[in-house]
């Protein structure tokens, strides 16, 4: 059991750094801001690694434990938001991933963001993001995770829109926030259903109540049926909707490619290693409930994952912006993690998918961060995201080239790089569970190898002469400072060795160690397919030729569909611009202005008109008044005398 102080310190250091940098304003701390943020994250990372080390080496069976918790907001007798720190294998693993990657990004940004006028603000946002992500990871309570979930969303909104005077960045940040917010709506309703159904928001209690077949809560939740599914299914599906939004699963993925408008280190942090895997983490957190109480919901996770995976891989083959290629590859890899969770069972060997999924999460964090940071270095040098502006950079940027190559090999699943091991586990689990999934996953793996190496060749090989004239290389930059190269090297090491961690011993669905045996025979086919993908990429893209253009011509419709991302963006745009705004928003505004306000004004006008009519009686002539007076007097007298005798 790691010490509580260390755990709290891990969370508080980034938070304090955020407060300090955020309140200090942009000018006062500018030179120190980066160093301050990086140092605090460095300490955090050290503490996390230490805590994880202590935790994993101390006991062999890992049940979730609440290290600390406080009652933050009491809703009713049974329902409350508690703030706390949950210690279990996945939270410890995530702590390490988040702090290490975040530290790398902090370090890298020292060079990458140098000279930006909002340098301090940038580090404040980074710290805020890290804090929120850490808080999310250690949540003890369904609502706590939702809170940090939202905080993560906002800090990513701020980071994506960091270059706030670029309209594309602003609209990308809006899109990211709104799409994930829409997903969070599902999450929220899911929380309401599950929380009220189980009469608790606490994870441990919730899982205990909803996995025990004899518990009254489970009975009540599974009993009713709404649109053909029980409340429990709906609750879990809606919670998964939240996760799918954050993890950019089809069809809620549209924000992720656009989110690449943010600074590249931010993309590495948020959109590769940490925030986007929050959905996977959420499903993993509630995994026992999914697996035991509601396999239907788990099937949805499975199919969403596999569809996203292949869908994104296809799109990635036709993108020309290097960050977008990486974004789609992220989506594809997260799809991998999702479907691995989806096909897993609970406990024992059946839980291989669970372990594999989180293992992939772990390795993916390293090599994807590496790829993004490498791409960042390239962009830093070329000042463009477009592949056409690059080519032949391997001699100018030897370190970046090497790091990027390692990243590509890792993601393609070539042994002995990290990706190989985790992917292999996933495929093994898939093979055991469902052959259809297995084959789709294999195809995806091939596509992955193809598009990653397409990218690699187009950046570092292809044109020997170097870069195009439109974007002359900033020579004095070189490859960037040591603070940019160092994280690349460190992450390269991670991408090589992360796969060697005996992950099954630490993380498994039921907390007991799972011994994983990889059979060489099983691995042959996937590696062959990956190599084929690489081979095709080499054939087409290693040297500049007309071969890709010919290929494009031959499959024009298909290529354009992929290039335009299956027109999903256009569909969303159509829905919002042509349905939500004109058919709901405008009528609402119109209704308010003309019907409701119109009624109020009409009442006023009517009163006015009545007054207008009546005031004619006020002629101003004494005799008229006298006449009214006498006539009324006589009438009253007649009434008084003859009618009310």
């Amino acid at each position: 059991m790691p010490s509580l102080n260390n755990l709290l310190l891990i969370l508080l250091l980034p938070f304090c750094s955020f407060l300090l940098l955020g309140l200090a304003g942009r000018k006062r701390l500018s030179p120190l801001a980066g160093i301050l943020g990086t140092t605090s994250l460095f300490i955090s990372a050290l503490l996390s690694v230490h805590s994880a080390w202590t935790y994993f080496s101390s006991t062999s069976s890992h049940k979730p434990e609440v290290a600390w918790s406080m009652n933050w907001l009491q809703f009713s007798d049974s329902l409350s938001i508690d703030m706390g720190v949950l210690v279990d294998p996945i939270s410890m693993m995530m702590l390490v991933v988040v702090t290490v990657v975040s530290f790398m990004v902090h370090l890298y940004s020292l060079g990458y963001m140098k000279g930006d006028e909002r340098f301090t603000t940038y580090y404040a946002y980074l710290s805020l993001f890290t804090f929120s992500m850490l808080g999310l990871v250690v949540s003890v309570n369904l609502f706590q995770i939702y809170m940090f979930w939202e905080l993560v969303g906002v800090s990513s909104f701020l980071l994506i829109g960091f270059y706030y005077d670029k309209p594309s960045a602003v609209s990308a940040s809006k899109k990211a926030f709104i799409v994930t917010r829409f997903a969070d709506l599902g999450f929220l309703i899911g929380i309401l259903i599950l929380g009220h159904g189980a009469e608790t928001l606490d994870f441990n209690t919730l899982i205990a109540r909803l996995t025990d077949p004899s518990s009254p809560w489970l009975g009540a939740l599974s009993a009713g049926s709404f649109l053909g599914a029980s409340a429990l299914t709906w609750g879990l599906l809606l919670v998964f909707m939240g996760g799918a939004g954050k993890s950019a699963m089809f069809p809620l993925h549209i924000w992720l490619p656009d989110a690449m408008e943010g600074p590249t280190p931010v993309s590495a942090l948020i959109h590769a290693a940490t925030m986007v895997v929050a959905g996977v983490y959420l499903v993993a957190r509630l995994f026992p409930v999914f697996a035991i109480a509601c396999p239907v919901a788990l099937d949805v996770v499975l199919w969403t994952g596999i569809i996203s995976s292949v869908f994104a891989a296809l799109i990635a083959c036709a993108q020309t912006d290097i960050k977008r290629v990486l974004a789609y590859s992220t989506m594809s890899q997260i799809g991998y993690m999702m479907f691995a969770l989806g096909l897993s069972g609970y406990g024992g060997e059946a839980g291989l998918g669970y372990t594999a999924s989180l293992f992939h999460l772990f390795t993916h964090a390293f090599f994807k961060a590496l790829l993004f940071l490498g791409a960042g270095a390239v962009i830093h040098m070329v000042h463009s995201n477009e592949i056409k502006d690059m080519g032949g950079l391997r001699k100018r940027m030897p370190v970046t080239h090497l790091a990027f190559l390692i990243g590509c090999l890792a993601i393609a699943g070539i042994p002995p790089f990290a990706g190989f091991f985790s992917k292999e586990e996933i495929l093994t689990a898939a093979y055991a569970a469902n052959p259809v999934i297995y084959w789709i996953a294999l195809i995806t793996a091939g596509l992955t190898a193809f598009y990653m190496f397409r990218l690699y060749y187009l950046i570092f090989w292809s044109r020997e002469s170097g870069v195009s004239n439109a974007h002359p290389v900033d020579e004095h930059h070189g490859e960037g400072t040591i603070s940019m190269k160092l994280p690349l090297l460190l992450l390269s090491v991670g991408a090589v060795i992360a796969g060697l961690v005996p992950f099954g011993n630490y993380v498994s669905s039921d907390g007991t160690p799972l011994h994983i045996h990889l059979h060489i025979g099983d691995a042959v086919l996937p590696v062959l397919i990956a190599l084929t993908g690489i081979g095709i990429a080499t054939y087409f893209y290693k040297t500049e030729s007309s071969k890709p253009a010919k290929l494009m011509q031959s499959m024009r419709v298909f290529y354009m569909t992929l290039h335009n991302k299956f027109y999903i963006d256009e569909i969303y745009l159509f829905i919002t611009k042509n349905i939500v705004f004109p058919l709901i928003g405008r009528p609402a505004a119109w209704f308010d202005k003309f019907v409701i306000d119109g009624t109020v004004i009409a009442i006023g006008r009517t009163t006015d008109r009545i007054a207008e009519t009546v005031r004619v009686m006020q002629t101003g002539r004494v005799q008229d008044y006298a006449l009214f007076f006498i006539a009324s007097l006589i009438t009253l007298a007649v009434f008084a005398i003859y009618l009310f005798h």
Binding site: G620, Q623, A626
Partner: protein, 104 residues
């Protein structure tokens, strides 16, 4: 002298009163309206005297009221005429129809 029936006197005063009312309502000249008003006051005076004499001869307050009404009528006429003269001076007419600045 009770040969005159009270009812007849009352009818007289009633008719006189409503002649005054008619005058007040129809005349356009303010002075003529004032005359209608005087007629009304006088019919009331007749009533006071008649009631006093016929119904409560042992008292005399009816007569007192008549005297007060006459006094107040005098004051009222004086003030009214002052107003009329002032109006005439400012607008050069004393037409009730045109003096409608109280309108609306």
């Amino acid at each position: 002298m009770t040969a005159i029936p009270l009812t007849h006197i009352l009818v007289l005063s009633t008719l006189l009163f409503f002649i005054g009312v008619f005058g007040f309502l129809t005349r356009r000249n303010l002075i003529a309206m004032l005359m209608g008003l005087e007629l009304m006051l006088n019919s009331v005076n007749i009533n006071f005297i008649a009631f006093n004499k016929y119904l409560y001869p042992e008292q005399i307050e009816g007569l007192g009221f008549t005297i007060f009404i006459v006094a107040i009528a005098a004051a009222e006429a004086a003030v009214a005429i002052a107003i009329i003269i002032n109006l005439f001076r400012t607008t050069h007419h004393i037409d009730a129809e045109q003096a409608d600045s109280l309108k609306y």
